[in-house]
């Protein structure tokens, strides 16, 4: 659960994630465009990264939660965080959001072809199944991640697939870890200690 103290500022949060508040709060459902303009909304619709947010303004404390999952706070200082829209709980009002097309990356894991990016200065709250672990990536030290355990990443990272699909995989005798994301460059990747189900790459 996340407690946010507000002194007249605005935050944006997942629709329906408010569980309690005290003080004076105003909840406003964001329109279709979600603050990204008509073009942004169109991109989001095309990308299947649907995300319904609400704006919260007021004085007091608001408590946010979603399905008893863990909440991780990530401070952004002008950099960009890439996160699945389903893992986003709330963020400061002045942060900008958008959709980033990631190519084939999400195909196998049922997460679509795109991911949500959040940029600017402020706090982002993300959701994970179990406490998130941050893993650093530096040049020359690549990191491989199971797509089902991936939550978010930030920094200057190149992402690519590692596959060792061979004839055994086709026969159903694969290693079960045939597809991984590999991150290279400089940044931070967040993983969760659990694996999401779904997607076609259960091999």
């Amino acid at each position: 659960m996340l407690a946010v103290d507000l002194m007249g500022e605005t935050i944006r949060a997942l629709n329906g994630s408010m569980v309690a508040y005290d003080g004076q709060m105003n909840f406003k459902r964001q329109g279709m465009t979600g603050g990204e303009g008509l073009r942004g909304a169109l991109r989001r619709r095309v990308a299947g990264e649907s995300m319904t947010l609400m704006e919260i303004t007021g004085q007091g404390t608001v408590y946010l939660a979603s399905e008893a999952t863990e909440v991780t706070l990530i401070p952004l200082q002008g950099d960009t965080l890439f996160v699945e829209s389903e893992s986003l709980l709330a963020f400061d009002g002045q942060l900008r959001t958008g959709v980033q097309f990631t190519g084939l990356r999400g195909m196998g894991t049922g997460q679509g072809l795109a991911t949500t990016k959040v940029e600017g200065h402020g706090m982002v709250a993300i959701l994970s199944d179990g406490p998130a672990i941050g893993l650093e990536v530096t040049p020359g030290v690549p990191l491989c991640v199971d797509p089902h355990a991936y939550v978010a990443h930030r920094g200057q990272l190149q992402q690519d697939f590692v596959t060792d699909v061979n004839w055994r995989t086709v026969l159903g005798q694969g290693s079960g870890e045939s597809v991984q994301f590999r991150y290279q460059g400089h940044g931070l990747v967040y993983v969760q200690p659990a694996e999401r189900g779904g997607g076609i790459m259960e091999i």
Partner: protein, 249 residues
């Protein structure tokens, strides 16, 4: 609250990263269950047990064809992070000992250990010296026999004889009880059947009745069908049809 961040140098070596994730300092080979790897640094390859070059290793350390499909070998050098559905994860050291653990809860083990199938369906026995990693839903409790435990809460046992089944007498008594025991139907409270441990040793229990994998029981039963003859199979077919008819009503 800030998220702990790690790099290959600061990740713990063969220790827990947090209660739900474990970091193996891989230098050689480890057996791991499929799909439990969440991330890794370094040069690590994952091979199915059927891969040719692994024949000698599998022949020496993996004596459970029933579960061979669920297991792979991670080999190479680097830091390997393992986790299982947000369950608590712990490592255990065996020193020339034996320990039996629920098949679905065993995440990984060192090749110093030998894996065998337990006589109790759904459990695997590790023999030898080395380290293994197991998951539990909630913290693990170590208790000493004599004790009776709920089958769902049982995680495993070490250095003591295999358990036997224990049924509450009062539950089996009377006309309804007979019907239950013969046809296996009627209401069950789930508490009339326990595993009974006697002798010296340690029993491992988890603080929940959530079983990691219900599939393993089925697989075990399937594995035992091979021991039946034609007559036995026909009888089993009859019993299954009877049960299915009862379920449909």
């Amino acid at each position: 609250m800030s998220t702990p961040t790690f790099n290959p140098a600061t990740l713990p070596s063969n220790d827990n990263v947090n209660p739900y994730a474990f970091c193996v300092d891989l230098n050689g080979q480890w057996f791991t269950q499929k799909g439990k790897m969440i991330a890794y640094y370094g040069q690590i390859r994952f091979e199915a047990l059927s891969a040719g070059p692994l024949d000698a290793l599998v022949a020496a350390h993996f004596h459970s064809p029933l579960y061979a499909h669920d297991w792979i070998v991670a080999q190479g050098q680097g830091k390997l992070l393992l986790a299982d559905r947000g369950f608590d994860v712990n490592s255990y050291d065996l020193d020339d000992g034996n320990l039996t653990v629920r098949a679905g809860n065993l995440l990984a083990f060192e090749p110093g250990l030998e894996l065998k199938q337990s006589i109790i369906p759904g459990f695997l026995t590790l023999i030898g010296t080395g380290r293994f990693i197991a998951a539990s839903n909630g913290p693990v409790h170590f208790v000493e026999p004599p004790i009776r435990v709920d089958p769902q809460a049982l995680l495993g046992w070490a250095d003591c004889p295999s358990p036997c089944h224990h049924y509450d007498h009062s539950y089996m008594r009377g006309a309804l009880g007979v019907a239950r025991s013969v046809f296996g139907i009627g209401g069950t409270s789930g508490e009339e059947h326990q595993f009974d441990f006697t002798g010296q040793g340690t029993v491992l229990m988890q603080s929940s009745e959530t079983v990691a994998d219900t599939n393993t029981m089925l697989r075990d039963l399937e594995g035992q069908i091979g021991m039946l003859g034609v007559g036995g199979l026909q009888r089993l077919q009859g019993v299954i049809q009877q049960r299915l008819a009862a379920e449909r009503q």
